[in-house]
Each structure stands twice: as C-alpha cells, then as structure tokens.
C-alpha cells in the first residue's frame, strides 16, 4: 500500500485567494494511497521544506505530491528536499495549482474542484513512480570547437589554456572568420586585425589545440562526454609540414582571375593562394576549380617554384576521427544575399536596390574591405565600377532585417553601429565626401555605443535620414537613391557615387546540417536554439553541445567573445567531474516483448536506439530487438508512442503512470 504525502501550498494569497486550500487538503487526504495531507503558507520556504522533510521521515512516506506552482518552477527544489529526507527524488511529483489553476480561474468553487483533480492526477501518477538513480557516464576530456571565427578562437584558447585539449575545425583555409576581414571595430575604431591576429597565432602555436582548416564535421556519433566525431579534411594540395609559406608559388601562379572570397569579390586571387597575408595557418591552398593543372592537366609552375617540394596534386580528402567530450558550435554568420530569394520563401526582397546589377551598390562587409589597409584598394576608398573616389555615399540600414513583408523579422543588431562606423571611416579618408544614412531606428545600446553614433553625426557630419529607400536606379553613372525622410515628411532623392547596404545577418550556410548532426534545434531562420534564453544561454538541449557567437543569433564582437568564454566555462565545469550525471527519465526496452520492427529506431531523434541480438544458451540467434543507449536518450518518448506492442517505456512518464493519470479523471 502506498504511503503518499500531499503537501498543498497557499503560496501566500496566490493560491489561497481562489482555491480553498483547507478543503483541497481534506479532499486530498481521502484519495487512495494518501497517508497524510498538509498545507503550508509557503511550501518552498525553509519551514515549508522542513515540513516536507519531517513528514517524510515521520510518516515513512514512499511518495510525495506537492500541490503548488509549476513543476518548471520548483520540481527540482522539492525533489532535493525529498532527497535530504532520504526519499528518492523521483518519487516526488507536483500538481500545478497556481499557474494552471488559481491564477486562471476566479470562481472559487470550480478552481477548488480543479485543484483537487490536479492533485488526484498527481497522486495517481506518483503511485506508479519508481525510485531512479541518475545515469553516470564517463567523460573524455577533449573539446571540439566548430568554427574558427573570433568566438571559436576565444572558446578554444580559454579551454586550451586551462589544460584541456581542443580540436578546432574551420571550413575556410584560415581561421579568423568575418572579423579578420574587418578594417576597424566599433566603438573604439581599433584595428580589427591588430587585435585578432595575435590570437590567431596563439591558436596555431598552442600545444593543446589541434587545428583543422579546410575541414568540416562529417559525422557525430555517441553522446555527452563520449562523442566520436569524424572530420573531413578537404584536400589542400599542399604538404603543410613541408611548406614554408614563402609565397613563391602564389606570386607565380598564372591563374589570377578568381574573385577573392576574403575580399567578397572586390579583388582577385590566384588559384594557389592564402586568403590573406596574416592567414593561420600561413600556408597556401590550391583552389581545385581554378587551378589549371587540376582542371585542365597543364601548368605546374608552382611545383617548379616550390623549393620545399610541398605541392601535392594527388592530395585527397581525408577523414579524421576524434574522441570528444563536449562540442562548441561557433559557426558564425553570413550576410543575407540581397535580392536573391532564399528558395524557402522566407526572403524574397530588395531586388530594387540593384545589388549585383550596379557595381557600386555593395554590402557593408565589402565596404570593410574597401577601407581596410589590407584590402584590394590598399585602404583607399575607390568605388568598384571605375575606381573613382566616391564623394557621396549612401548607407542603408535594415536591408532584409526587421522586414516581415519580404525580409527577416528580426533585428540584425550590429548594423546601426556598423553604419556609424562606416560614415566615420569614410569621412576620415574622404574629407570632402558626404555620407548619408537611411535608417529605421538607431539601436545603439551598449557601452559607448550611443556616444559613437553621436560622434558620427555631430563630429563627422554624417547625414542621417529616418526613412526607407524605395529603390536605387543608375543614371549617368550615378546612383539615384530615392527614399523618404519621414521626419521631414518628404521624399528624398540623393544622387550617390556609392551605396552601401547593411544586409541582415543570417546563420552561415550548412549550420542546419551541422545542427542535425549534433541534435541541436534551430529556429525558423536557422539560428541555433539555446536551452533557456536567460538561464542557460550557451547550453543547448543536446547534452554536451554548446553554442556561442552569431550562429545563435545576431551579435557583435564583444558579445560573441563573452558568450565564447561562457561556453568554455560551461565545458570546463562539465569536465570538472570524473563522471557525468544524467537525468534517468529515459526510455528502456522490455526485450522479451520487443518484436524488433525498429519503428523506435527510425524515429529516435538522438539515434539512441540500436539493434541488439538475443541468443539462446547455445549462442544461436533467436531474434533482434531494440536497445536504448542510456547515454544518448533524452527522454522524449516518441519511441513509446510508436511502439505497437508497447515494449518500450519511458521512465518518469511510463505507460502505467500516464494511464493512471487519465484513469484518475474518470
């Protein structure tokens, strides 16, 4: 016979106002299996918890129902309290009589009746609860960081500095990410490369960091603490160990026409190249689509020039396996491709700005390259069409952002600051030039941010127009920008020499594939989902996988770095124990009943179900059945619903518990 204690909370007046707590407690005492029923003003308070602990001990309770607030609020609290009284915490359930009862029903009699029902359901459930022990799994103390932008670099260095080995995977030939291509950064206007490149070099030289560039994550198996990651290293065609990075090869390469990815097409590069002079690793790579030798079978000048004998035309993609304990995803962002529909119906707009048709309509990242001393113009601001110095430049905010009609609904967060920075950089280089900015609102929240924007307007004389641009046309070699100044209340047409579009930030391509490999959710835009927006901002719902940087949402550099360090700290915290403890509310298979149809295996989002063989004493195969890997199962229970013979069940929400709950409402 069950010995269940029901503890109903007044929550001050919160519950007691609309629910007759005393009557509820009396009715709860009559429920089958209930040993005692008590109330307290604040059950979560110290005296409240003491009441629970003392009653558990005095009445030798084997199940506890707390009727108070949402289990999302205090289930952990009360389970801990039970544990202190030597009751297995998984024998505690809650009835949500506050959020889902007293706060939403004002008619006292009906709210009281419902509260009793909710307790009835919880009592019915707890009668079937089982004592569970947390699942322990060993930990491999090694971290995979995916993405070598500033966030990935920060996370990798923080972790490596603490003595934990890191594998850093970067898709491009060099780490550095978007930040390496910026000229100066807001709000201090310090040189982006000057602050980033030392960190990049540190990564390259760190004894605890293994760097894989030109590489992507191919496959992730296993579970928290015990991932096995396969990394595809694309053929680089260079023996990185032999190469000295002298540059003879790329200076001699005859294929010079490929648009430079690093300069966003504003400059050209050779087929054998390093993306930029400070690249890490400082080794070239051969573009297999541009190299004459690899495409047409002729040439080979680089081989002749290379004194280190480092060119390898027969290089092949290579798969590398690593045992990993935790994964940090820091894949960053890309800009919204202006005017190009994304094929998923999410983004359709802004063809009217002529991006891609008019060479002098460029994106803000392209503008960064135009002002960068290492850029294609050597830092002189010259427009792409004819190399002339633009005297009037229009910057347009929110191209694709904050636009439900044809763009993305969210704010890309950094563009207001980027525009302000650009007007200043422009003015500093073209003293007689005039910068115009079309904006919707200026969002400059942040330390020294608003002051920065004021400086752009007040000191550097940028003209800010609050309004949208309807279209850009090209006439007589100039760009006619037609918009509206809503503050002045009139249309505004500006003949500009250069237009810079602050396009929206979107997650990098391929992040959805990666998210599926590591079982992390993503939102409708492809940004990865954190576990809790406030309290677990770098954790994800996949145990052992963390996020940081712009793959999680639009962010500027300081925020990305902060989040990267936070992720690093979370990983190190996880590694601070010998073993990991996981919630035991997971699925398990009753193998004697399993027919081995593997519907569960097909549906499991965590690939937590494997076939297992049942053999007789002679070792003959009797049949194959499903088996749950407790390290991987997250307890969603999809397998339970799909199992036709109900041979798989879910601890914590078992068939017995659930049917008892429904049945109690008869």
């Amino acid at each position: 016979m069950a010995r269940i204690g029901v503890f109903t909370c007044w929550c001050g007046e919160n519950i007691a106002r609309n629910v007759d707590v005393q009557s509820v407690a009396e009715q709860a005492a009559q429920l089958p299996g209930v040993r005692c029923s008590q109330t307290h003003k604040y059950m979560c308070s110290d005296p409240g918890q003491k009441l629970i602990r003392d009653t558990i001990a005095a009445e030798r309770l084997d199940g506890v129902v707390i009727a108070s607030c949402s289990p999302h609020m205090h289930l952990k609290t009360f389970r801990k309290a039970a544990e202190h009284a030597d009751l297995n915490p998984y024998l505690v359930e809650m009835a949500n009589v506050r959020e889902q009862c007293s706060w939403v029903h004002s008619q006292r009699s009906r709210a009281t009746a419902k509260a009793v029902d909710l307790i009835r359901v919880a009592v019915a459930k707890v009668r079937h609860n089982r004592a569970l022990e947390p699942i322990q799994v060993p930990v491999t103390r090694k971290v995979l960081v995916v993405g070598g932008g500033v966030a990935g670099i920060q996370a990798a260095l923080d972790i490596a500095d603490s003595g934990v080995p890191v594998v850093l995977v970067e898709r491009e030939p060099s780490i550095g990410g978007k930040m390496a291509g910026l000229s100066e950064t807001f709000p201090t206007l310090d040189c982006s490369q000057c602050i980033l490149t030392p960190r990049m070099v540190e990564v390259a030289q760190h004894p605890n960091i293994t760097l894989h560039t030109c590489s992507e994550v191919e496959q992730v198996e296993g579970y928290v603490g015990n991932f096995r990651v396969t990394i595809r290293k694309q053929a680089r065609y260079i023996d990185v160990d032999k190469c000295t990075g002298c540059g003879q090869c790329w200076n001699a390469c005859p294929s010079k026409k490929t648009p430079s990815e690093f300069d966003y097409g504003l400059g050209k590069r050779t087929a054998i190249y390093t993306p930029f002079p400070q690249a890490v690793p400082a080794r070239p790579v051969i573009d297999r689509d541009a190299c004459l030798r690899l495409t047409k079978g002729r040439c080979g000048i680089c081989v002749k020039k290379c004194q280190a004998d480092a060119i390898r035309f027969d290089d092949q993609d290579e798969l590398v396996s690593e045992d990993i304990g935790a994964i940090i995803v820091a894949t960053g962002y890309q800009l919204y491709e202006i005017g190009k529909p994304d094929g998923q119906g999410r983004v359709t707009g802004y063809g009217e700005y002529g991006y891609g048709r008019y060479p002098d309509v460029i994106s803000s990242l392209q503008f960064e390259r135009l002002v960068s001393a290492s850029g294609p113009t050597g830092g002189e601001i010259r427009r792409p069409s004819d190399g002339a110095v633009p005297k009037t430049v229009v910057f347009i905010s929110c191209v694709g952002s904050r636009d439900n009609a044809k763009g993305l609904s969210y704010c890309s967060k950094i563009c207001c600051m980027v525009n302000a920075k650009h007007t200043m950089l422009y003015k500093h280089k073209v003293h007689d030039g005039q910068a115009h900015v079309f904006y919707m609102d200026i969002r400059a929240g942040g330390k020294n941010y608003d002051e920065f924007v004021r400086r752009a307007i007040e000191q550097d004389g940028a003209h800010y127009h609050r309004g949208r641009v309807s279209k850009i046309t090209q006439e007589d070699g100039r760009l006619i920008v037609r918009g509206v100044d809503t503050l002045a209340g009139e249309p505004l047409t500006i003949a500009a020499d250069l237009v810079v579009l602050a396009a929206a930030m979107r997650p990098a391509t391929g992040v959805e594939d990666l998210a599926q490999k590591v079982n992390v959710g993503y939102d409708e835009f492809g940004f990865l989902c954190e576990s809790h927006p406030k309290l677990r901002p770098v954790e994800t719902n996949a145990a052992g996988v963390f996020v940081c940087g712009a793959c999680h949402g639009p962010k500027d550099i300081p925020e990305s770095v902060t989040q990267a360090s936070a992720a690093a700290a979370k990983v190190l915290l996880m590694f601070s124990r010998d073993r990991l403890y996981r919630e035991p509310e997971i699925a398990h298979v009753q193998e004697s009943a399993c027919a081995g149809c593997f519907a569960c295996r097909r549906s499991c989002p965590y690939h937590a179900i494997d076939p297992a063989e049942i053999r007789d004493r002679q070792g003959q195969l009797v049949r194959r059945v499903a088996r749950v890997n407790p390290g991987l199962c997250m307890g969603c229970g999809t397998c339970v619903a799909l199992c036709v013979s109900k041979s798989v069940d879910l601890e914590g929400f078992s068939e017995e518990q659930v049917y008892a709950m429904v049945e109690s409402l008869r």
């Binding site: 949402s70 289990p71 999302h72 949500n96 506050r98 959020e99 889902q100 009862c101 706060w103 939403v104 029903h105 004002s106 008619q107 009699s109 009906r110 709210a111 009746a113 419902k114 029902d117 909710l118 009835r120 359901v121 599926q516 079982n519 992390v520 959710g521 993503y522 939102d523 409708e524 989902c529 719902n541 509310e585 549906s603 989002p605 965590y606 997250m634 307890g635 969603c636 229970g637 999809t638 339970v640 619903a641 799909l642 879910l650 914590g652 929400f653 659930v658 049917y659 709950m661 429904v662 049945e663 109690s664 409402l665 008869r666």
Partner: protein, 153 residues
C-alpha cells in the same frame, strides 16, 4: 467517482476536457497564461507529457472512455520541438489517426490539435475558452458514453 466539472450551482452541462500537452511548449504556454493571469474556463485537465511525440493515439481513445467530452493535444510548433522532431512524428500520427476516427464516426470536432509555444499564453487562454464553448455547444459526448456502458447480462 465522477470528476466531470459540473457546476452544482446551476446544473448546467460542464464539458470535461482532457488535454495532453508537451512539457516544453504548451505546458509552459499554459504556465505563461497563469503568470499573466489570463482567465479561462476551469474545464480542462492537463496531463503533462515530455513531448507530443510521446502522445499515443490510445490516450485519445482512453480520454473518451473515461468520459471526456473533448480532447486537446498540443505541443511545440513545427521546428520548435525541444527534442527536434517529436512533433513532426506526432503530426503524421494525427494526420492518419483523424482519418480513422472519422471513418469510425467518432466526432473529430471533439479532438483538437494545436501548436502552442511557451510564449503563447494568450493563445492558450483563447484556445481553452474556445474549446470549452464549442464543446458546450456540442453537448456531452453521448455517443461514446453509450459505447462505454457495459452491456446488459
């Protein structure tokens, strides 16, 4: 013991509604309705499950067997599943199961499927109010209750 939420005061029919909701979206949406003090009728009894993926079709039948006049199944919006894909599996299940109910002549207007996120307290409130009132209009589900009456000896 009959837990049908009938109001003794006026003897009016009070629909009994069983709701199976996922822990991460709709349950939190219902919590949010509470936090925002959005009042709705007290006819619904929520049964919390981890995910819509866990909600077996048998539970809907069971709800009618215990005398429910309407059943609500609700979870995360497509793409928002806490477990990435439980709700997609659930969607398929309901697409087929609804057909079966219809073929059997079971009133599908008594079975409600919704996506309610943790942020949609307002939607939860409106939904429960609406379901309660439409079920009130439909009246008690006599047809299924008759099925559940044991035959005479």
């Amino acid at each position: 013991m009959n837990t049908a939420a009938s109001d003794p005061a006026n003897g009016e029919f009070e629909p009994k509604i069983v709701a199976y909701v996922c822990n991460w979206c709709t349950y939190l949406g219902a919590d949010l309705a509470g936090t925002n003090r959005l009042e709705y009728p007290a006819n619904v009894r929520i049964i919390r499950l981890p995910c819509t993926g866990r909600i077996d079709f048998n539970l809907i039948v069971k709800a009618f067997e215990i005398g429910a006049d309407a059943v609500l199944v609700s979870g995360c919006h497509p793409g928002d599943c806490h477990y990435t894909s439980g709700n997609y599996h659930a969607r398929r299940r309901w697409m087929l199961f609804r057909e079966l109910l219809a073929t059997l002549g079971i009133e599908t207007e008594r079975v409600h499927f919704t996506w309610i996120s943790a942020a949609e307290g307002k939607k939860f409130q409106q939904l429960i109010s609406e379901i309660t009132s439409t079920t009130r209009d439909l009246g008690p589900y006599h047809a299924y209750r008759e099925i559940c009456e044991t035959c005479e000896v």
